[in-house]
Amino acid sequence: MKLSMPAIANPRSRLQGFSLNNRRSRTLLLIALCLVVLGVLLLGTYLIGQAGLDIALSSRNQPPSFAHPFGTDWLGRDMFSRTLHGLSLSLWIGLLTASVSAVIALAIGTLSATLGGKVDAAITWLIDVALSLPHLVLIILVAFAAGGGVRGLLLAIIITHWMSLARLLRAEVLQLKSSDYVQLSSKLGRSPLWIARHHLLPHLLPQFLVGLILLFPHAILHEAGLTFLGLGLPPEIPAIGIILSESMRYLSAGYWWLAVLPGVVLLMAVQAFDILGQSVRALLDPKTSQG
């Protein structure tokens, strides 16, 4: 591609020498920024500790101010610390469930494609059935079947998030398996394990990584949603879904900050994961990584 292009006519080729003007550097910068934001949200609770979570009835229901950027709730607790704690908990749950789910997706996707035949047909069919129900209804059903609570929530998110990624990875493996160089490699006497290590893995790993990162926002939003509905975490665990559902009772009293501001932070976290996933994809994909 590059050789066929006239070097002088293309202004972009001159820009490639600069580091901060090209897309690759900007993508890297964006990734670093997202990582910092998420790092703060994930580990922020360790830095601020339990401060602000004490009940202070003298300062109840205060609107946002410099002392309490997110205001205080009906028990005088600082909403900013509560939000950080709740969100950190939700994010950790999201990370855990999405990771397990992605590993399941990788295992099932590759197994389905390599074993083929009846196993493949059964797995494809199972994915089709699971995807034929509205996602939230399936999550509620699994959470109910697992007995609700923390266990129900974890199982429900893990069991219902691997399908799309498994389907993607399965298609990828199938395509790789039929490609010329893999065929040739096996004709040359390489063992299936060698092929898997040297030909399949380098292709699947980036896909898996991007799929994993893009699973996080889904898992977090569904965790928050299920908890919000009262079917997930119990009320004594102050996750972000609990905070938002509690704030619903105080809406008509005009305490808008209880609901609005924690939601903004949740939205930011989800956005950060989304941008991170898209950026990593852009960086790892050879078609878009340069230029």
Binding site: L133, H135, L229, S245, W256
Partner: protein, 330 residues
């Protein structure tokens, strides 16, 4: 005509297979549940006072002492006769609960579907026509933000603005206090629907706008758009005469496929607004361990999503002239 018959038969067969699979899946899931059906039925207060004989009697009456396979076959037999069981929460047959609840949800979903279709495609066309400008960037940012915003949070946000601060919309429910659902006027109904429908439409707007934008950008860069421009056509003209009809079909398909998301979103939306629809019933069924209702809703949602996918499939075959002609030739 021949094609329509073949299409219907194959779709019906698909639906049957799907429902059978859903039946097996839900039965297995519910039977592994640690929640005891008898405990759930009698409630917490009477659980303590109940003797073992009474418990055994209920178990025998319900066939809970039978092995799993026998129970499944008996349940399937009832299901095939159209008997979905009794809802413990609402003391009505499950079919009746779903019918009344879905009627309420249908209003909500239809309105939200319409909103998201109109707003989503308008924004998408606007962004696509002005690709690269600040308008396009703004719309894209808006769409990305919307698609990652939690539905229930948007519901709370709208409630705070419109119901609490401005007080122009009701804060909950589908009817004014003290008015039954059957004698509510159309205006009252829409008044109570507007916020939930706006909330629910948010789910579809983001993806539809981004998708429509991509499609329109592709069209504007095509050879026939270039040719039209060479003949002196303006961008507006190209969008109106070439863009719209090409964008409409994928958008419509996306909207039909999005019915699944819409159903899921209605669960959260109805919870916030206290709207007595099917989503609200789903949550109640799960909280109160109302297994027959939950299973009934799972079945119903499977049929609903299937209908959406079939409509998407059909819309292509009926509307797109390229596929339509291809179908007749085959």
């Amino acid at each position: 005509m021949n094609f329509l018959i073949r299409f219907t038969v194959s779709k019906l067969l698909h639906l049957m297979l799907l429902l059978a699979a859903v039946a097996v899946l839900t039965f297995l899931l519910v039977s592994v549940s640690p929640i005891d059906p008898i405990d759930a039925y009698v409630g917490a207060a009477r659980r303590v006072t109940m003797t073992d004989e009474q418990r055994a009697l209920i178990a025998q009456r319900w066939g809970l002492d039978q092995p799993l396979i026998t129970r499944f076959i008996r349940w399937l037999g009832q299901l095939l006769q159209g008997n979905l069981g009794e809802s413990m929460t609402y003391h009505q047959s499950v079919a009746a609960v779903i019918a009344t609840r879905f009627q309420a949800s249908l209003w909500l979903m239809a309105l939200a579907w319409l909103f998201s279709g109109v707003f989503g495609s308008t924004l998408g066309i606007l962004a696509g026509a002005t690709a690269g400008s600040w308008c396009d960037r703004l719309i894209r940012l808006y769409a990305y933000t919307l698609s990652s915003a939690p539905v229930f949070w948007i519901a709370l946000l709208l409630l705070v603005i419109f119901s609490v601060n401005w007080q122009i919309t009701p804060i909950c429910c589908a009817t004014p206090p003290g008015v039954l659902l059957q004698d509510v006027t159309l205006w009252q109904r829409l008044h109570h629907l507007i916020l939930p429908a706006l909330t629910l439409s948010v789910i579809g707007i983001g993806s539809l706008a981004l998708h429509t934008r991509e499609k329109l950008v592709e069209i504007l860069q095509s050879n026939y758009a270039l040719f039209a421009r060479a003949q002196g056509e303006t961008t507006t003209g190209i969008v109106l005469h070439h863009g719209l009809r090409n964008v409409a079909l994928p958008a419509l398909t996306l909207q039909f496929v999005g019915l699944s998301e819409l159903f899921g979103g209605s669960v959260l939306t109805e919870k916030v607004f206290g709207y007595p629809g099917l989503g609200d019933a789903t949550v109640q069924a799960a909280i109160r361990s109302d297994v027959p209702l939950l299973v009934g809703i799972v079945f119903f949602s499977a049929i609903f999503v299937f209908a959406g996918n079939t409509l998407a499939d059909l819309s292509y075959r009926l509307i797109d002239p390229r596929i339509r002609i291809g179908g007749i030739e085959r």
